[in-house]
Each structure stands twice: as structure tokens, then as C-alpha cells.
């Protein structure tokens, strides 16, 4: 009962924060429209790139055109979801540490990790989730995909797991700000992260690339984030990989929370 009411309370809070940030965003509609247009252009560029590539080849690393299009849509939606929910919040953390404004957040009777990483929703990237989903839908139609409940369920579970893994990595990177105070490299690291997640893991072939691919699958599981849900939906339903993804999610969420609390213990208020 206690847990349930706790969850309900946090969901209520999240709803309140979402409405608040939406109102703020709509106060600057022009800016919102520009942000969305940039994302639309970016998606168009990604699709144009793959159209050009698939005009000259029928497969890339074993993925045919509709499968690859699904992968692109999956990446775009997942990346959009992470940017919408967490990126801006994590990016502001270093500034909270530097100015000492973190004190105010730590004093609130709410879980500090929730408040710091979920307090703002970047609605400008919300349409990315819809656009990515539309691309996935088109890809499925192109592939002549037959509805399969098991695949859909696995996709949804691993999509959430992928988001959670990315969140775990981002939280760890964010926590480092407590010591570095200035953490401008977070965005650079995030760019690196997404540049690894945006391609099928089968491209890691060859004498030096295979160990690298294995490292980013089993040790630092960035490659599973988009690969596993996309694979489950349009290619092979790989049971062990799905299990690995779920296990990695649990482990990373636990480890990143521990690391975040460890970092907070090193925080020395800077305010007067």
C-alpha cells in the first residue's frame, strides 16, 4: 500500500511538472516551432542519407532497407525520448553544483534523483518520439510485417530497457559534475554515446572492430540500447540478448543510483 501510494505521488508530481513545463514552452511558441522544424529537417536528412545508400546497395551489415529504416526510426524515437525526459535536466546539474542552487533541491521532501533528473520535460523533442514511431510504422508496412504479439511485447519491454540503460549512463556522467563542477563535456559524451547507439552492431566486424563491438555490448552495453528492440521487431527474436538487456537495465539503474548518491555525499554547498 505504501509503495503504491508512493508511486501514485511521484506520477502526480511528474504530471504536474509536465504541465508546468508545457505551459512554459507554449509561452515561446515560435521557439518551440523552430526546435521542432530543426528535428524534422534532421530526420529528413537521416532518411535522405539512407535512401542514397540503399540506392547503391541492398543490405548494410545484414539489414535490408525496410529493416534499416525501422532501426533509424527506433533510434530517432528512443533518442528523442531520452532528450525529452532527461538530457536538459542532466545538463543543468553542473550549473546547480557550481552555483550552490542544488541545496534548494536537496532540501525538498522528494527523492533527489527524481527531482534532479525529471523536473523538466523538453517538449521540443517530444515530436521526435512520434516522428520516429511514424518511420517505424512505414518501415513495417514496407517490409510487409505481420503482427506478432510476442515481438511487439518484446519490443516494448526492450525499448523501455534501452531508455533506462541510456538514462543510467547519463546519470553516471552527470554525477561526475559534483567533482568537476564544470561539466561541459557531458554533451560531447552524450554525442559519443548516441554515435555508438545509432548503428547496427553488426557493423563492428573485422579484427579490431569485433572486440570493440563486444566491449560495447557486454561490458558497457551501449550497443544493445537500439539494436535489441529493433532486432526483436524486424529481425531475429534473440532470447539471450533480450535477457542480457533486461539484466543490464536492472544492474545499471542500481549502479547509477548508488554512484549518484556517492557523488552527492561529496557535494559541498557553494551558496552563501
Amino acid at each position: 500500500m505504501g509503495i503504491l501510494s508512493g508511486i501514485a505521488r511521484y506520477l502526480r508530481l511528474l504530471g504536474g511538472l509536465a504541465v508546468y513545463t508545457l505551459n512554459r514552452e507554449l509561452a515561446f511558441r515560435g521557439n518551440f516551432l523552430v526546435k521542432v522544424s530543426v528535428e524534422v529537417i534532421w530526420l529528413a536528412i537521416l532518411i535522405a542519407f539512407y535512401r542514397v545508400v540503399f540506392a547503391r546497395t541492398s543490405t548494410v551489415a545484414g539489414w535490408d532497407e525496410p529493416q534499416y529504416l525501422f532501426f533509424v526510426g527506433c533510434f530517432f524515437a528512443l533518442n528523442g525520448l531520452i532528450e525529452m525526459l532527461f538530457l536538459e535536466n542532466c545538463n543543468e546539474f553542473a550549473e546547480l553544483v557550481r552555483t550552490g542552487d542544488l541545496d534548494g533541491l536537496l532540501l525538498k521532501p522528494i527523492d533527489e534523483q527524481f527531482l534532479i533528473t525529471c523536473r523538466r520535460i523538453d517538449w521540443g523533442t517530444a515530436p521526435n518520439v512520434l516522428m520516429g514511431s511514424a518511420v517505424m510504422g512505414i518501415a513495417l508496412a514496407n517490409a510487409g510485417w505481420q503482427p506478432d504479439l510476442l515481438r511487439i511485447a518484446t519490443f516494448l519491454v526492450t525499448f523501455v530497457c534501452g531508455t533506462a540503460i541510456a538514462y543510467g549512463f547519463m546519470l553516471m556522467l552527470t554525477s561526475i559534475s559534483v567533482w568537476m563542477v564544470r561539466n561541459q563535456s557531458l554533451m560531447e559524451m552524450w554525442w559519443l554515446f548516441s554515435s555508438l547507439a545509432r548503428y547496427p552492431k553488426e557493423i563492428f566486424s573485422g579484427p579490431w572492430a569485433e572486440p570493440l563491438g563486444a566491449f560495447f555490448t557486454y561490458c558497457v552495453p551501449i550497443l544493445v540500447v537500439v539494436n535489441v528492440p529493433a532486432n526483436a521487431m524486424v529481425r531475429v527474436l534473440d532470447g539471450p540478448m533480450v535477457a542480457l538487456t533486461i539484466a543490464a537495465t536492472v544492474l545499471l539503474l542500481w549502479a547509477s543510483r548508488r554512484f549518484f548518491h556517492y557523488a552527492l555525499r561529496s557535494y559541498r554547498s557553494a551558496s552563501s
Binding site: 536528412i45 545508400v53 563535456s185 548503428y199 566486424s205 570493440l212
Partner: protein, 294 residues
Amino acid sequence: MTPLETLESPLEAEVAPSAPVPRHRYAKYLAIFRVSLAERMTYRGDFFLATVFRFLPMVTTILLWQAIYEGAGKMQSEMAGFRYRDMIAYLLLTHISRMFSSMPNLAGGIARDVREGTLKRYLLQPMDMIGYLLAYRVAHKVAYIVTSFIPYALLFFVCRGFFDGLPDPATLAAYALSLVLAFLVGFFFEVSVGMVGFWFLEVTSLLYIVMTVNFFISGQMLPLDLLPEPWAGLLKLLPFQYMAYFPAAVFLGKIQGTSLWLYLLGELLWAVFFMILARVLYRLGLRRYSAFGG
């Protein structure tokens, strides 16, 4: 912000002081260059790290193109005139093109000067704004090239297998010229975009859109030759190709003979076009300009 005054004749304020002895005219821009260079070199550690970070995604790009060529069964042949090795060499070389042609914060800075009224310092001092920005930017570029020389040298050394060695001296000279012109095209293009700030005050949104589109049409993602016609031909007529595609294609010997000279002439014309456009927009903008701020 309070509107202080609308300059009766802003052009006079800008033009009048430009009479002194020519030697002094250039000495002050040299001084701006020296000060800006010293400023930029302060953060060389930051520079170095940022450059290294920028290279890492190159690993996945190399692997992706390898998969594309393997998928097409063309590891030993060409795609639109580019072998696999050429493709990677091309993508590496676009980093060098962008090193010269990208102008972070230039247009945004001009729009901010207009919005906040700090532009008046150029009107009150015996200094031309575009001249000042050019000297400042050259210093930034020199500092960037010096600090990123080691990581770039390392990258090209590691990736030397993708190159057929250095091109002949004539091609190298054309390459160097194309890079200098790429700097000028990039600089005056961004200044022109910044000048739009006289009319719209805030150009960040416009810049975002321009930069996103530019990423593709300048050939940073793939050589323009891979695009179907009429797109490839059309994009090669635009100035954006000179900011990434053209210098890289020159280095790889993809453009030679008469077309090389014609394209270089085209690059020069675009640089002159944007130089004139920036100047005209500046003059027109100053007529509308009210010096805000204290």
C-alpha cells in the same frame, strides 16, 4: 534596456575615422589578431580534449561505410567514383574543410551586438566591425589549427592507409587555396546571416535551421557525387559545397583541369558575393539601428 539615441548618420561614425595613415589601419587589426590569439591559447587543454572527442565518432563512420561497401559487393570497386578508401579519406578531409569554414558564434554574436546595443563600440571607435571580426576570427582559426595539429596529425597518421599519399604540388596548392577561400566563404556567409539581426534581432532559430541543412548539402555526410541528379549538380552550384565537399574533392584529385579552375573561380565569386552582401546589409542595417543599452 533604454534606447539612448538613434544615430543621425551612423555611416559617418563608421566611415569618418578610417582616414589615418594606411600602416596604422592594418597595425590595429594585427593587434586585434595578437590579443585574440593569446586569449584563445589560454584554453588549449579544453581545445585538445574537445578535438579528441570529436574524432571518436569517426570510428563508427568508418565501420558503417565498410558495411555499405561490403553490402554492395564493392570493396574493390567504386561508388560514384569513390572507392572505399577514398570515401573514408573524403570524410576525414571534410573535418579539415570544416576547420576552415565553420564559424561558431559569429552570426549569433553579431545579432547579440545589435540587440544589446554593444554594436555602437564599432561606430564610436576608429574600427570597422567586419574588419575587427575578420582579424578576431583569423586569430581563432590559427589558435584552433595550432592546438589541434597534434590530434589531427595523429588521426591522419593512424588513417594513412586510406590515402594514396600526398597529391602533387599543383593539387596541393589548389587545395590550400580552396581552404583559404572556404574560410572566406564561411566567414562572409555567417556575417551576412548575422546582419539579418538588424531586422529580426534574434537569428539563433534561423541559424539552427541553416546549420542543420548545411550539414547535408555541404557534403559533410557523404560526397555530393553520390546523390542522384539533378540534386548533385544543383548542390554543386550552391556556395555550401565549398565549406566541406569541394576542398576534400580537390585533395583527392576528383576535380582536375579546367573544372578545378572553374570551381575555384566559383568559390572566389561566392566569397566576393557574400563579402559585398555582408557590407550592403551592414550599411542598410545601420540605417535602422537604434543604439540600445547603457
